[in-house]
Symmetry: C2
Subunit: 408 residues, 2 copies
């Protein structure tokens, strides 16, 4: 264990040296007003494991014929946190239902935070790799801090996650385009009707073997840019991965669906109408430029999710040196105007679930603006290939993004 723990530690230190926790704290203390308190635990050296006697993954799964988010593995990771007592002994146990008092805070006051990340099986070497898990664990720490939920040691949590994936390694599907989707979750479980910080949290991880997020593959989606509903606002919790940001999107998504769109494209507000992010994705537009194309996405101003795939795309494209990359405010009016003028090469969404998904049209103010380009200038196919090459261990991981799960 100690050796593996050190390995993981050294891998994530590479990025931490570039962007240390203290710098992040300062950034969030300014930007999102969130300070992540230090904490110890849950301690992976104390991990207790109880193996399920259920049958493992079926042959079917090995063919990659998996449906998103409804098939689950046989085990879950769990650990309790108490405001004064800290972390309980972490456990990997057979997957089970959670018993909650009907007054549990999570059921009333939305005190819940989650993450989504993936383990991929190498197509050549069969090795299992987690994609940038340190970024998800860090974002979870930030979300938890903003909502007053559990504080934890990020390296310890990452090691707990890695050990959980080792137990579930047979559930990582074979085949490019598939993955084991991991869902760390933290919920407030105190049975108390007063609105206040929860004293008892349950942290757990479940896993689901997955293929494409959008049914019918990632052939492209249409987005509804609505000025009737908004997702977030400055001084809110738009940067957190928490229930609140999803609950408000169900009805708008259904309106999108009635207009032939798969997701909502969220704007900042009715006046400025800056493009922020899509339903379960960050959003990118590739504009034609005077000299070279400009890839644009919304800046991390506290109203959007700091997506892991988003930041990987930015790093990748910047490394090419052939395209201008801008994290800037831009309005939907600019986008549709430039679509009309033929100045939009392409648009796409990014996310852990959907990876890179081409956007084929934007519905805005009762009109559908189609984005149909078939030019050589498109970068999304190349980006998707580059990302997947890294996911599946087909190229050298020059960014040190993967964390190998040693399956021995």
């Amino acid at each position: 264990m100690t050796r593996q723990f050190q390995l993981v530690r050294s891998l994530i230190r590479q990025e931490w040296s570039r962007c240390s926790i203290s710098r992040w704290n300062r950034k969030f203390a300014t930007l999102e007003q969130t300070v992540v308190e230090p904490s110890t635990g849950p301690d992976p050296s104390k991990l207790e494991t109880k193996i399920s006697n259920l049958p493992g993954p079926s042959e079917k799964m090995k063919n990659g014929e998996v449906r998103w988010g409804t098939t689950f593995t046989n085990h879950m990771f769990e650990a309790e946190w108490h405001l004064e007592e800290g972390w309980s002994t972490p456990r990997i146990v057979p997957r089970h239902t959670i018993e909650l008092d009907p007054a549990a805070s999570v059921l009333h006051y939305g005190l819940e935070v989650f993450e989504g990340l993936k383990a991929h099986r190498g197509t050549k070497d069969g090795k299992i790799r987690l994609f940038r898990p340190d970024k998800n664990i860090r974002r979870m720490a930030i979300s938890c801090a903003r909502l007053g939920l559990a504080t934890f040691d990020q390296q310890m949590m990452l090691e707990c996650l890695r050990r959980y994936v080792m137990i579930e390694k047979d559930w990582v599907p074979h085949g490019r385009g598939t993955a084991l989707y991991l869902r760390p979750t933290c919920i407030a479980v105190d049975p108390k009707l007063g609105v206040a910080r929860s004293k008892r949290n349950l942290f757990y991880i479940i896993a689901s073997p997955v293929g494409h997020y959008f049914q019918g593959g990632s052939g492209g989606v249409n987005l509804l840019a609505t000025t009737k509903y908004f997702r977030s606002f400055p001084g809110g919790i738009g940067f957190c991965k928490t229930g609140a940001n999803y609950a408000l999107g169900i009805i708008p998504s259904e309106e999108a669906s009635r207009l032939g769109c798969q997701q909502v494209l969220w704007l900042s507000d009715a006046k400025n109408r800056y493009v922020t992010e899509a339903g379960v994705m960050n959003f990118f537009v590739l504009f034609k430029g005077a000299k070279r194309p400009e890839l644009v996405t919304a800046p991390l101003d506290g109203t959007i999710l700091d997506g892991v795939v988003r930041s990987s795309i930015l790093e990748l494209v910047r490394s090419w040196g052939t395209i201008d990359v801008s994290e800037r405010k831009y309005s939907i009016d600019e986008v549709v105007q430039r679509i009309s003028q033929g100045e939009v090469i392409e648009a796409f969404g990014s996310g852990t679930a959907s990876i890179i998904t081409p956007v084929t049209g934007i519905h805005y103010q009762d009109k559908m603006y189609s984005i149909v380009s078939d030019t050589e200038e498109k970068i999304s196919p190349k980006l998707l290939k580059s990302m997947q090459d890294i996911f599946y261990g087909e190229v050298e991981d020059t960014f040190s993004w993967n964390v190998e799960v040693d399956t021995e």
Copy 2:
């Protein structure tokens, strides 16, 4: 049953005739974009009851020595709703834990709605009365509709609630200032990681005998008017009673506490800084006027809760005819300026939990503005007395606000 059902129906029809569901629907379709779909069930005529063999409320409770939100009664009401199949048979059963799959939507996507209302025991006649339960049931229908949760027949739900209170009647405390607090709750229970409308909901009601919400009674609270955090925004879900609106307030409340305040006073945004509502209360200011005082509170613009006590206060004060009543936008800057000029007679919060709570100070931009008036012009003592006289059946209920729970 039929006679009681008709009684309840006739009582709530009185208000419905003034403000029919269809008018509400039109209003919300404009204002909060929410359309409440018609639905049948849960059917109170099919209600199944299983009585707990636990001991009932102790003598202690009868003295009103109850602590807010941590003591619960022995039973709960529950009914399942399915998107296609509708409502299951409703049940009143011994209070029990809820078993949820760890992937249940409520634990990830904040798909949860609740209400809070009270049953009071008449100080003279011992009769148990619900205060305006039809308004809470209607608001719950609106919240559920906005989040894509269960639709229900409001009259049927009200009758289920009344029958539940009958079972728990011995838990309604004796004494002015006490009540049985009722917490209807609706949660999405499908085990599915995709973000979409939930197909299965659990609706339940739990109850807790309560005294004062703020420890130390309602002697007065200080509020922190923050420009760092905001609660809601146009096109959001600020008008819904759902977890999202509470999760974001935990950390700001703790900042308030460090500055000697009991709650946050939420402003609209950093620019306009309109006063909206307080942590768990609507907010009122009584300004001195040229001819007569002006009672001001924020309008129902979709960013605040349509509080039942709020609307009752507005009706009561309008019925007096001696004070101007304004539902209008007003900024925190207006409030603190007029405090400084001696033009604020008083300020208070209103809510089901806290009833009417005097505000003794507002902390804004590093300064505490004390509101210390001891004049005859204050209306909050009279308002609280009028409300409590109605709650406890001490005066004629001229507004037809109470719904009697026939305990036979």
